[in-house]
Subunit: 298 residues, 2 copies
């Protein structure tokens, strides 16, 4: 398997779906749809849609309707990035080297572009349900995506993260950090893999496996991020190191130490690889993607 | 018909559905679900869910699944109010006499509570689809609600309104004002009536009628608001009059004059009453509700 070539092809497919299914910026008053397109097409790696389609294909899916769900997932993810970047939350003016949505279109339209993308995710998801060959599978898929994105999923994790940073929260530090990582980072990864499986008609046992794989990928990715922040260099990472420490941000490394954090990434990786091995079909690409995302050097 | 009694009963039913179906605030870290419940239960009049159920019953619907769609609509509406009140948009600290969500929970959590309510609207809407007796009708209903709420509906109107206020937009003033009123105010009223009809299995002709009724109600309500701002008194309205003029806000009155604005409300009302008369069932309540909302004195 030529991983780079495979990844490029899969990303290109996701990119094509997303661009085709986003609202066109035509005959509209104002800049809302322009801001929506700008945000989604500003250089995302499309990891979630690629994971979703990979699970879909592994579980025997072959319909075109996956494109709607892939686009919905990327819109939800982008919506959360736009709002995360707002002055009241992370106050970031740049993302991937280009101005963030509110930096380019103003704060008010930044808020509304995030809202409109979140809403659009569900417009396109419901469209996916209405064209799906198996309506039952599609409704189950929609429920998974919505649940993992909401108050008990990604947005729940964002809420705790933000509240902890702004005002502090009374809770066990390790429990809280695990909650944030599991919800804020892992929930949409879990949702992507599970959605692909559910749309292809996978049973509950397989969905539980996909969820467990997604959770481990999300946690490992986040902990590796913490590790690189204190072990890498600005040259290799392309962003400032020791930033967590300077921002007094609690991480797995600050809470558990570098050794145990590295051990945690190894354990999560081993568990995930075992779970991936049990999936049907040719899992070589998914395994390689997992390893490259979790055990990365930058 | 005792309108007050009927309205009280219908509102109480909507209130009960909404409170029952909102996420519980139990075993959660932080205050996100508390903020979500706070925002939705802070004194809304439940006009949209009441309209939705009225259309549902008129068109022969009798299932309990309407509760999910009513709750979804109120969550979408509340989400838009929370974000409208944010410092970057209208900067309102009070709504219906109580602190707005961001005033009570901070700006960051205000943004996320709005997001979480918008997402929750779709969690509960998809739940409604999955339990609906007629899956086809339910998917059609979901598509109507999502479409009318998004970039080409309510959020589109919000976007233009906000952009026009913050930076100005190059467009014909009357066209733009009509766009804002139609999308920002009327779209969710249209969606509510149409959703009730669609869930009950109404045909396209009836849905078009419900849409036209909703549009007229939304526009008449908004224009009457403009009229009252310059003809009523602070005592009667319970809010400052001449506020639009002081904020140099363009309205139907400033654009067309008081006489033509009043004439417009009358025309919209007559058209809507004719359309309501053509609906099946006992339309007395809907007609009375329309008249009280459109031709109100405060």
């Amino acid at each position: 398997m030529n991983y780079e070539k495979e990844m490029k092809e899969r990303t290109a497919y996701a990119e094509e779906c997303i661009r085709r299914l986003l609202p066109e910026d035509r005959n509209m008053i104002g800049h809302l749809t322009e801001a929506m397109r700008y945000s989604v097409t500003a250089g995302g790696k499309r990891i979630r849609p690629v994971l979703m389609r990979e699970a879909y294909i592994l579980l025997g899916g072959s319909g075109e309707e996956i494109a709607y769900f892939m686009t919905a997932m990327e819109c939800i993810h982008t919506s959360s990035l736009i709002h995360d970047d707002l002055p009241a939350i992370d106050n970031d003016e740049l993302r991937r080297g280009v101005p963030t949505t509110h930096a380019k279109y103003g704060e008010a339209l930044g808020i509304l572009a995030g809202d409109a993308l979140l809403n659009y995710a569900y417009e396109i998801l419901i469209k996916g349900v209405s064209v799906a060959s198996d309506r039952e599978n599609a409704v189950r898929t929609a429920a998974i995506i919505a649940g993992k994105s909401g108050y008990d999923g990604m947005l729940g994790g964002q809420g705790v993260d933000v509240e902890n940073e702004k005002t502090g929260i009374q809770a066990d530090r390790a429990d809280m950090l695990k909650y944030i990582y599991k919800k804020k980072t892992a929930a949409l990864i879990e949702a992507s893999l599970m959605a692909g499986g559910a749309l292809a008609g996978a049973d509950e046992r397989i969905l539980a496996s996909l969820e467990a794989i997604g959770e481990r990928l999300g946690l490992a990715f986040q902990i590796q991020d913490d590790i690189l922040d204190v072990t890498s260099s600005t040259e290799v990472l392309g962003k400032p190191v020791f930033s967590d420490m300077e921002n007094r941000k609690e991480t797995y490394v600050s809470l558990m130490g570098l050794g145990p954090a590295g051990e945690k990434v190894r354990t999560l990786t081993e568990e995930a690889v075992e779970l991936i091995d049990e999936l049907p079909g040719d899992t070589a690409f998914l395994k390689e993607m997992f390893l490259r995302l979790a055990v990365r050097r930058k």
